[in-house]
């Protein structure tokens, strides 16, 4: 039980981690591109990287944080324009190739050491250490110092017996299944009622989870509650924005473009403009995600390359494309699941106590192999993901 408790604690720590939330924001943006509009953008990491660079470089040049954020958003905005103008009139797979190529160009330029002036800004492949730009954000914190454990009342106070925890985790699984069913609209709840139900259930689940596996973190430090809370609040705001956008006439136009471009054109809609708006808005979410992604860590171009985009796709398809909650659920499952696999592999497949068939590094690679395989299986057998509607996803280029 202790092994399992340790694995569960790790999974929970990653579930509330700001980077998970940051990726969720980027996936929300990707969902606007891919899920709602059908744009095959395989360069979401470039939006993240540009947002991160925009903010980090501005702050290291001594500009205020707000200016940095605006610079990051502006860079992503211009990048979306530059990408979109030549490619949005082409066939979908051209957009795919151009977005991934452009993302690589951004990464190569970021990691280059060829021009000294550029290198002094970006720091080449080493990137920009977080300590150089994190200050202004940490200083905003009104959480004070010290540690806080969520729910000071936890299972230690009741009983240390495994039975209680086991029962508790079963209830958690039940609650999650219930949430999924509500999210899929099984109980006739619609619109804001469903969201209220989801938030309520989510809170209860979170409380129970924290009761079973207490997480203690610093209030303001890196990965502390300040970073966590702000990033998750941003996730919530993003969800509200997406909900508002997609239920508006404009959101229906997006789906129209996805389903049948020619029909939209014959209805007198400017398909190019709609696609461009979608590309820009999704890209801005990507940029915000990128900023939050690098705040606890550092800006490293190689860490934000193609594979990050692929992970975003895995998360999106896992949760369900063209759904409101899909990106968040998918990101949570992706990160928590990956840490879970690594934990299980570390505990049971890489120790002399049980089976020893791989070393410490191999367990992480093993997890990524499973990620790749599950991405394949997911697309083949359940392209709508957990929350999606199969009829909505006969997307094609």
């Amino acid at each position: 039980m202790d092994d399992i408790q340790a694995i569960l604690n790790n999974m929970l720590r990653i579930a509330v981690d700001p980077t998970t939330a940051a990726v969720a924001i980027a996936v929300i943006g990707l969902n606007i591109h891919f899920g709602y509009t059908g744009l095959l953008n395989i360069g979401q990491s470039a939006f993240m990287l540009l947002g991160a660079y925009g903010m980090a470089i501005s702050v290291t040049q001594g500009w205020p944080l707000l200016v940095g954020v605006i610079v990051g958003l502006a860079v992503a905005f211009v990048y979306a324009l530059v990408l979109g103008v030549p490619t949005l009139k082409l066939r979908g797979d051209y957009l795919a190739i151009v977005t991934i190529s452009a993302a690589e160009i951004v990464r190569y330029v970021g990691r280059s050491v060829g021009y000294e002036k550029l290198f002094n800004l970006t720091g080449g492949a080493q990137g920009i250490p977080g300590s150089r730009y994190r200050g202004p954000f940490s200083n905003l914190s009104f959480f004070g110092n010290g540690n806080t454990t969520i729910l000071s009342f936890n299972y230690h106070d009741v009983s240390d017996s495994p039975v209680l925890r086991l029962l508790g985790w079963l209830v958690v699984v039940g609650l999650i299944i219930l949430m999924v069913r509500v999210g899929r609209g099984r109980f006739g709840l619609g619109g804001y009622a469903r969201i209220a139900a989801m938030i309520g259930l989510g809170l209860v689940t979170a409380m129970l989870v924290f009761f079973l596996a207490p997480v203690s973190q610093q209030n303001t430090g890196v990965n502390g509650w300040w970073f966590t809370v702000i990033t998750w609040v941003l996730v919530g705001i993003s969800l509200m924005i997406v909900l508002g956008l997609t239920t508006s006439p404009w959101g229906r136009a997006l789906k129209g473009v996805r389903e049948d471009e020619d029909a939209m054109r014959s209805l007198g809609k400017n398909v190019f403009a709609i696609k461009m708006q979608a590309l820009i808005i999704g890209g801005l979410f990507g940029a915000i995600g990128g900023m939050m992604y690098v705040l606890p860590g550092s800006v490293q171009p190689d860490a934000m390359g193609r594979n990050l985009t692929f992970f975003c796709y895995t998360a999106l398809l896992l949760g369900g494309a063209a759904t409101i909650w899909g990106p968040v659920l998918g990101s949570l499952i992706f990160f928590v699941g990956r840490i879970g696999i690594i934990g299980i592999a570390n505990t049971y497949l890489s120790s002399d106590k049980y089976i020893n068939i791989m070393n410490g590094q191999q367990t992480a690679q093993f997890a990524f192999i499973l990620v790749g395989v599950s991405l394949m299986l997911l697309v083949i057998f359940r392209p709508q993901g957990i929350l999606g509607d199969k009829r909505e996803l006969r997307f094609n280029v």
């Binding site: 797979d93 991934i100 190529s101 002036k117 550029l118 471009e261 094609n396």
Partner: protein, 452 residues
């Protein structure tokens, strides 16, 4: 949208495209010029710690005439770099924590006027731009790296023109290797519509198998090479049998298929890491003999690789143009439904395309590992986009376009360092691709088609 629809382009679109390009240029150029510079710090003493660090240390210039104020650049196995400025004694010392292959070079601008770095006399130690290769660094040891200079007008110095010729030959070599892999990619796209993101992992597979057969099992190069091609071709058969054919039957959309290939690519990359490790594996046969043709130096091995590539490409071309199967392949490529209606077994043709494409990719990987610089789990990752660029540049789905596109991309990659810093060379190739798509979206050899 159907697969056969292509851009509608009006005056407005073209104007907007060029405006976009202009904005890009207008943004990037000032960014490069705007900001000021600063010098790096120096640390000139290093002791290796067992199992923790290693040292790469040396002198800039000679002991008698050390050079001061030169920026020595260490390129690490992961591609990152570290810079030290030499003191009065001309010494530099890097403390490193990772095993692998390092490269010691200098910032040419910081050398005394009228001098340049003298390339190491031993060809196997020669890195790009006169840099010194320090291969296979182990922890707990010290490595000497002495860099010397010579007058820039030295008789042995390559002129711009000679450099151009040498780079062109290198570009041709890279282009031919890329062509081997990209023809298969293009055929797969043509016959099935799949943009196969896992194609480059097949290239890696070829190199990895070559390492396994030749270096680990100790087979002779020729037999090992044949085995590599056969195994890779078999992997193509297997893939089509257990994955792509069932998916075709299910009628999975092209976007989904593309994401399946992305998943496959991820799984394969990390499998290589899992089973082979993250270090570069050299497929070493024997010491390479170097030949000199006027200003051009090239190894025998490279010449052989180029020859093999040309023969294979010619064979594929002949097969496509002159044989029944080739004609059937082109028919499926043009219009699968019509081909099927006229009695062609499309499944069989596609199966054959997968087999041939994977075999060629494996061969490309083996040759790449032999002549370029070994094979690594992410070698494919690095050349995947070059392959896509080549295929798109030539025209999606046209086999001969892929050849032309590969040669163009190979030349751009090798020639661009003559005008821009070396680490922009891949970016330059991709930029060329994007620029071409603005002007000629159907590629160099593709046919323009109207949106239906």
């Amino acid at each position: 949208m159907s697969r056969t629809s292509v851009p509608e382009r009006g005056l407005f679109a073209r104007a907007a495209a060029f405006l976009g390009l202009f904005v890009l240029v207008a943004l990037v150029v000032p960014l490069l010029m705007l900001f000021s510079s600063s010098a790096a710090d120096a640390a000139t003493f290093c002791l290796p710690k067992k199992d923790e660090t290693a040292c790469i240390a040396g002198t800039m210039g000679s002991r008698a005439e050390p050079l001061e104020g030169v920026d020595v650049i260490l390129t690490k196995p992961d591609g990152s770099t570290e810079t030290q400025t030499t003191e009065k004694d001309g010494k530099f010392a890097f403390e490193v924590t990772a095993t692998g292959d390092y490269l010691v070079g200098v910032d040419q601008d910081t050398l005394p006027k009228g001098s340049e770095l003298k390339p190491p006399t031993q060809p196997s130690l020669r890195g790009p731009e006169g840099a010194l290769k320090v291969d296979n660094v182990q922890l707990g040891r010290s490595y000497a790296a002495t860099l010397t200079v010579r007058a820039a007008g030295f008789s042995d110095t390559t002129s711009k023109w000679d450099e151009f010729l040498q780079s062109s030959v290198n570009g041709l070599r890279l282009g031919l290797l890329l062509a081997l892999a990209s023809i298969g990619l293009s055929l797969i796209y043509g016959t099935t519509g799949i943009s196969n993101f896992a194609h480059a992992e097949q290239v890696t597979l070829g190199g990895m198998l070559g390492y396994g057969f030749i270096n680990v099992l100790g087979l002779p190069l020729f037999i090992g090479g044949v085995l590599v091609v056969i195994t890779c071709a078999f992997s193509g058969w297997l893939q089509d049998r257990i994955l792509w054919q069932p998916l075709r039957r299910r009628g999975l959309g092209l976007t989904q298929l593309m994401i399946v290939t992305i998943g496959l690519s991820l799984a394969m990359q990390y499998s290589y890491q899992f089973f082979v490790g993250a270090a570069t594996k050299q497929v070493v046969v024997s010491q390479a003999t170097v030949r000199t043709f006027g200003p051009i130096t090239i190894t025998d091995r490279s010449l052989a690789a180029m020859g093999i590539s040309i023969v294979c490409i010619a064979l594929v071309g002949f097969a496509l143009l002159r044989t029944r199967v080739g004609r059937a392949t082109r028919a499926v490529s043009d219009n699968p439904a019509l081909a099927q209606a006229s009695g062609i077994d499309t499944d069989k043709v596609i199966r054959l395309v997968w087999i041939a494409a994977m075999g060629l990719a494996g061969l490309a990987g083996l040759l790449y590992a032999l002549v370029v610089n070994g094979i690594k789990w992410d070698t494919g990752l690095q050349i995947l986009l070059l392959l896509f660029a080549a295929v798109t540049l030539g025209g999606l789905g046209t086999a001969f376009g892929a050849l032309v596109g590969s040669l163009v991309i190979g030349l751009v990659v090798e020639l661009s360092p003559l005008v821009i810093p070396g680490d922009f060379k891949y970016a330059a190739a991709l930029l060329i691709l994007i620029l071409l798509l603005l002007v000629r979206p159907q590629g160099l050899l593709g046919r323009a088609q109207r949106v239906g």
